[in-house]
Subunit: 300 residues, 2 copies
């Protein structure tokens, strides 16, 4: 089944202790779409400026991603982010953010996109995320991501959003911040009680945790020795996960767990190079092979 993602499309500048890259393809919706494209048809909604290189759009389309929802604003600039990773490659500092066209992003879904059954609301203002929800007709599964900024400045709207979605994805620090609880197991269930049927807490290099009414589990990150750039790992995880769910057409507990595992595996490839460089070189078979290794790794 087709999967719709609405979120940021960006040009990132990334510094790691070893290397740096300027103005490379990035943004939540981009990482998500590319990861999901290994599993299902993806429709992307986002906004860029006139500085957006057409080759980036071509790259997405080559993987079958429908970019007809990517609005290009003349006379304006694309969202830009600059960040620097600490030596542990897990923590980072944001050095610069230029929201540019993303500041006034007001997503308008093409008519053909409004009946998408699987929907991912990448990190953005809860108000904007809800505007997307207002445009879709009876989606089967809605999952959203969020961040500390919205917990801080738009808490009420975020709480309203939580009533309207099936799943929430957030990182460990955000879960602690939202609940005020430093134990992630308790925090995960507390967030779930705020509305969503399931909550996923991403722990970076330490994997991810899943919480539903009847299940709590943790999946470690796939142990790759080659971590070049963690940017987009969380969104690749989400893309792999939702892509698999859309492919399977359901979100039964068993499917959700397999989807989490695919998310872990896709993210492990994503961090092995800057931007989408590593992803460009892999096929579905590579994901399946690593998934098998991951499954064996966790089996005892």
């Amino acid at each position: 089944m087709p999967l719709l993602v609405v979120g940021s499309v960006a040009l990132d500048s990334v510094e790691t202790p070893q290397e740096k890259r300027d103005n490379v393809l990035g943004g939540s919706a981009v990482y998500f779409s590319y990861a999901a494209s290994y599993f299902s048809n993806v429709r992307l909604v986002g906004v860029v400026g006139e500085d957006w290189p057409g080759e980036h759009t071509e790259l997405l389309e080559k993987r079958g991603i429908d970019t007809s929802g990517l609005e290009v604003v003349e006379g304006a600039k694309t969202f830009r982010w600059r960040g620097k990773y600490h030596p542990n490659m897990n923590d980072r500092d944001t050095l610069e953010v230029h929201l540019n066209v993303f500041e006034t992003f007001d997503p308008k879904l093409p008519e053909a996109f409004t009946r998408c059954e699987f929907l991912f609301l990448a990190n953005g203002a809860p108000k904007v995320q809800m505007k997307v929800l207002d445009q879709v007709h009876g989606p089967k599964l809605v999952v959203a991501d969020t961040m500390d900024l919205w917990i801080e400045i738009a808490r009420d709207e975020l709480m309203e959003l939580l009533q309207r979605i099936d799943g929430l994805v957030m990182n460990d620090q955000e879960a602690k911040f939202l609940t005020g609880d430093d134990n992630l197991v308790r925090a995960g269930h507390q967030v779930r009680e705020m509305g969503p049927k399931f909550v996923i807490i991403k722990k970076g290099e330490h994997g991810a945790m899943f919480f539903s009414e009847h299940e709590t589990y943790v999946m470690p990150a796939y142990p790759t020795p080659q971590v070049v750039d963690p940017t987009g790992a969380g969104d690749s995880f989400g893309g792999g996960m939702l892509g698999y769910l859309a492919e399977q057409g359901n979100f039964e507990p068993k499917t959700l767990k397999e989807a989490m595992a695919y998310g872990v595996v896709v993210a492990s490839f994503n961090v092995e190079d800057f931007s989408l460089e590593r992803m460009k070189g892999i096929e579905r078979a590579d994901l399946d092979k690593r998934l098998d290794e991951y499954r064996k790794m966790l089996n005892f």
Copy 2:
């Protein structure tokens, strides 16, 4: 098969954001022994002062731990440690350390202990750990723990020790410090190349990683909502692991993996209360039950 552990026996004072306890039973060899006692016969070698409460020895003996190697030094005091946990319950500050009798600990193995086939050298000076090795006859499996202090002040002796053991257990920060590599997968294999057949990196609330020539895997911590006091988690993990290996009488790859899982499970109980309080209330059946849940959790 019997399992011998040599290491610290202590009186700990622990502060967490919620509560505090003074002078409770602690020490690496104590946590290790107690955890291992669910699986095999344990022989403990350590030293205490005349302030040592006899009830602590009784507690260990009640679980079948042979304490005939626990030396009591008259006119001297037991090793004392005081620490305070951060709100995340994973990081801590050491507030006070009084080595007391442990400063000059010179382990003398009772004759009956010198033919133990499974041996754990809890954290201590590499020189002292090697003195123990000099006293044992053809052990089948020797595993050691270490810490940043020895990497810093006794690196050469530590490197010598690594040539004489089968397995090394250490935490993530120590592995990074020893190798100078911030990627734990690479660090784990680098430590292995320094001598031991296998290396285990403990990641606190994030679980543990295993490295042998042909295997690399990660096991997440069991997600308990009730983390009261993490003191001794690493040693309980080691005790559960080595205890199971001694019970099985081998350390084949399959057994090692099961042993890691038991280590994770024992540690998850240990953190649910101060000192050995939680462990006192459980039986082997509780460990088996949680192991089953853990196995299912990791299965997809």
